[in-house]
């Protein structure tokens, strides 16, 4: 049961990367593909353990780069850079508030592509960067922000459907039990 959440998060990341490479509709309608990994990283950082956060950064980055012309491994650090600070401060974050999820999703979706581009440029690659990229960045940020609360709701639903139910408190309380023997006396 302990492995349920990491497996669910990593499976979702795997399918999300494949979906991003398969679905052409967002690119055709909005001019950019929306990346779900930063939003997923926010969820993992707030709800999962550090091993899951690290695995998501490594495996998610590897899967993304393997289907892209990116250098292999270039997406790992940006994803971790987004998730790790959130993980460290997660006790101070009101994780159940949709507004907090939206803000964190916005920040993560805005930061991750910029860091990846910086790493690519630093490695001597020549990605397509022009004024159009600002529009694409805005679409990725807005899309990622919008998706984050939806992801939280989805994982909560999955947890309810597939996880163990919480043990509800029974109505019986030993301190309120009527002691028949005493009354009889």
């Amino acid at each position: 049961m302990k492995l349920f959440q990491p497996i669910l998060i990593l499976s979702f990341a795997f399918l999300a990367v494949f979906g991003e490479a398969t679905l052409a509709a967002p690119r055709r309608w909005l001019g950019a593909q929306i990346d779900l990994l930063p939003a997923l990283m926010v969820y993992a950082a707030l709800h999962a353990d550090l091993v899951t956060v690290s695995l998501l950064a490594v495996l998610g980055g590897l899967w993304f780069d393997s289907l892209s012309a990116n250098l292999l491994g270039v997406s790992i650090l940006p994803l971790f850079a987004v998730g790790f600070p959130v993980y460290l401060r997660r006790d101070l974050i009101l994780r159940d508030l949709p507004f907090a999820q939206l803000v964190l999703g916005t920040a993560a979706s805005a930061l991750a592509p910029v860091l990846t581009l910086l790493l690519l440029l630093n490695a001597g690659k020549q990605p397509l960067v022009a004024w159009v990229s600002l529009w694409q960045w805005a679409v990725m940020t807005a899309g990622g922000a919008a998706v984050t609360p939806v992801l939280f709701a989805f994982f909560e639903w999955c947890g309810r459907m597939l996880g163990y139910r919480l043990n509800t408190q029974m109505a019986f309380r030993p301190d309120r039990e009527i002691q028949h023997r005493k009354i009889l006396k």
């Binding site: 990367v17 991003e20 593909q33 091993v51 393997s66 892209s68 250098l71 790992i76 022009a130 159009v132």
Partner: protein
Amino acid sequence: MFKQKNYLALGAVVFVAVLLLSLPTRATGRLKVAVEAWFLPLFGLADAAQQLPADLADSVLPRRELLREIDRLRRDNQQLKEQQLQTTAIARENQQLRAELDWQQQAPWRLKLANVVLRDPANWWKTVQIDLGSRDGIQTNQPVLTAEGLVGRVASVSLINSQVALVGDPNCRVSALVENASHDMGVLIPRGPGDPLDSSLVQLSYLASTANLKPGQNVLTSGLGGIFPKGIPIGRIVESQSVEYGLATVASVKLNADLGALEQVWVLFR
């Protein structure tokens, strides 16, 4: 805030990332293929899912419509046969003239059909994956085209699929020739500013300042550079302007092939 396990996780992730980024290109390529292989089971599922609506539509198509389609295809076939006869005669004549002038003979093109299976998930590259790989004889730098025109070149090859860098990607620069009296030549590079929703525009740069460009003129591959054979249609000139204080000219080219809606492409063998 920083416990030992936090340090450990941070160190491990940074170590993995730095290790991967510092691997030699060949090792990275192999590793990329290995990681990509995880997605192989999903390729089949995606194919089936894409095929399903088409199959359903085929099964409910009325017979009258099918007969009309067959009729149209027969007419097209007849026309194509006539065109092929003419083309064969022209090719024979061309070969004879080349032999008389002692010019180099042109090797015929061989084409192999491929399906586009994936697109680059990153917005800063323009690449697609096709379902032909090294087992099908694909090699890097082979030109990729559609019936409308040039699409790109094979950038990397794995056993069962290949990555194609599309025209307009930084890894696919094409030497091009404008079909006008002066045969102006330039290089196709990614277009800078432009409509974010229109990926069909690229920039023809390094043109001479005296270039005589007009909207609508055809742009073809020039054959220089050794990757693309001469004469593959690329697109049409949309507009041109003088740059660098009148020392050079750049032009916007609208690509013939719709790169945003690629489903099947041809890989050219020479």
